[in-house]
């Protein structure tokens, strides 16, 4: 029930945004995550953005994992 999926914000009007989720556009509420800009990714749960997805952190995690895998 705690499923969350990442979506890219493509349009914002007041506290509602349109997010691209795997090619489909969805209306999401920004009540819980108001500080978002167009182009940023958010984590979506039951129609609400609940957190921004930090692209830099994601890249750093992947980079670390790649290095670890190569060092074996």
């Amino acid at each position: 029930m705690c499923l969350g999926i990442p979506g890219r914000v493509v349009e914002i009007e007041k506290n509602v945004a349109k997010a691209d989720v795997g090619g489909f556009l969805r209306d999401i509420s920004l009540d819980l995550c108001p500080d978002v800009s167009i182009g940023e990714y958010v984590l979506i749960h039951t129609g609400f953005a609940i957190q921004k997805v930090d692209e830099k952190e994601a890249e750093e995690t992947l980079e670390l994992l790649k290095k670890m895998a190569e060092a074996i």
């Binding site: 029930m1 705690c2 990442p6 509420s29 609940i50 952190e57 750093e60 992947l62 670890m68 074996i72």
Partner: protein
């Protein structure tokens, strides 16, 4: 999809598995608390690829599964009132109560509607001012802020016909109950990623400080889970216990303060009853005085006496004491088309996951 596909890379996964194999020397039993983790672990065959000494057990992290029968019976009793519309997340429909389920009641003609977002409840209440609309407020901390937003908006809009059956749960107190239980040994926790998006790391600190166990907040893709397990193995081998974040792309120490404030505006902590775990201090909520008028528990409805199937092991499964394979009903009487207990109903229920993947 971005942030999903790259965390399913096979070569990196193999490297991580080798790391885990090389690092792990001690037998450990880790609990994945969240049902979404259980599904991922089975879907990607993670149990089978781990070294023998690392055992994963499933925990109580499925809100539908831990909702007590009495609350389902109350929802059913409310649905039978002539002027009531029940709105609910889909997972609740097939959960068996003492003698019926919401799905059966819907087939009998009761007005029960499935919604995806809490905000749809407001729309339904606005469109049916002659009815009382009751939203079944089920979920962990991931969902509670969204329910709180709906409640705050209902008050702003002066909606007088929207009510909430609060059966929400807070995860950290359940972990205390599990750590205090003598029936299951837990050497570390794979902590729920999306609950932690909201609550951050602070509410988990007691796991390390008071119980000396490591815990890692983990994402849901295979690389996330393998890295989370590797971080737990490292802590174990280095004899450390701390709360670490693997799922850094969406989890921060402070959580989501805006979401936490929304919950705090509407609810205060209260004891709550969990199927299998019983009453746990501070593991749920009650309405604050300012929003009490929306609490459906103020209604005067007669609810049938609660009873549970005597052979259903859902309670033990939720605590990690028993595996679904040890239940006499599993696959024989109890299957997804005819679920006896909620763990077979929810797509995140441990029994449902075992049924699907084993």
């Amino acid at each position: 999809m971005k942030f999903i596909d790259e965390f399913r890379d096979k070569d990196i996964a193999e490297g991580l598995i080798q790391r885990i194999q090389k690092t792990s020397t001690h037998p450990i039993q880790l609990m994945e608390v969240c049902g979404t983790h259980t599904v991922s672990i089975f879907r990607y065959g993670i149990r089978a690829i781990l070294p023998e000494q690392i055992r994963l057990i499933s925990g109580p992290g499925c809100p539908v599964c831990v909702t007590p029968n009495a609350d389902i019976d109350l929802a059913i009793a409310l649905s039978r009132q002539k002027d009531v519309i029940i709105v609910t997340f889909g997972d609740m429909m097939r959960v068996p109560g003492s003698t019926s389920s919401l799905q059966k009641e819907k087939a009998e003609g009761r007005d029960i509607r499935i919604i995806y977002s809490s905000l749809e409840a407001l729309k339904i209440a606005n469109e049916h001012s002659e009815k009382r609309v009751v939203f079944l407020a089920i979920g962990f901390e991931t969902t509670s802020p969204t329910i709180s937003v709906a409640i705050l908006r209902a008050k702003e809009e002066k909606l007088r016909n929207l009510f909430f059956l609060d059966s929400q749960k807070r995860v950290p107190p359940a972990l205390t109950a599990l750590l205090q239980s003598k029936q299951v040994k837990i050497d570390g926790f794979i902590l729920p990623g999306h609950v932690s998006t909201i609550i951050g790391t602070k509410p988990y600190q007691f796991i390390a400080k008071e119980y000396g166990r490591p815990a890692v907040i983990t994402g849901f893709e295979p690389l996330d889970i393998l890295q989370g397990i590797w971080m737990l193995v490292q802590q174990t081998e280095e004899n450390r216990a701390s709360i670490e974040i693997q799922y850094r792309r969406v989890v921060h120490d402070e959580g989501n303060p805006i979401a936490l404030r929304k919950i705090d505006e509407v609810f205060e902590k209260d004891d709550s009853y969990w199927r299998g775990l019983g009453r746990i201090p501070d593991s749920g909520y009650r309405f604050k005085e300012s929003h009490k008028q929306m609490d459906v528990r103020n209604f005067n409805v007669e609810v049938e006496p609660t009873k549970e199937h005597p052979e259903c092991l859902c309670g033990e499964v939720l605590q990690g004491i028993k595996s679904p394979l040890e239940c006499g009903l599993f696959k024989k009487v109890c299957h997804p088309e005819n679920p006896v207990g909620p763990c077979m109903v929810s797509i995140e229920g441990t029994c449902h996951t075992y049924y699907k993947f084993s």
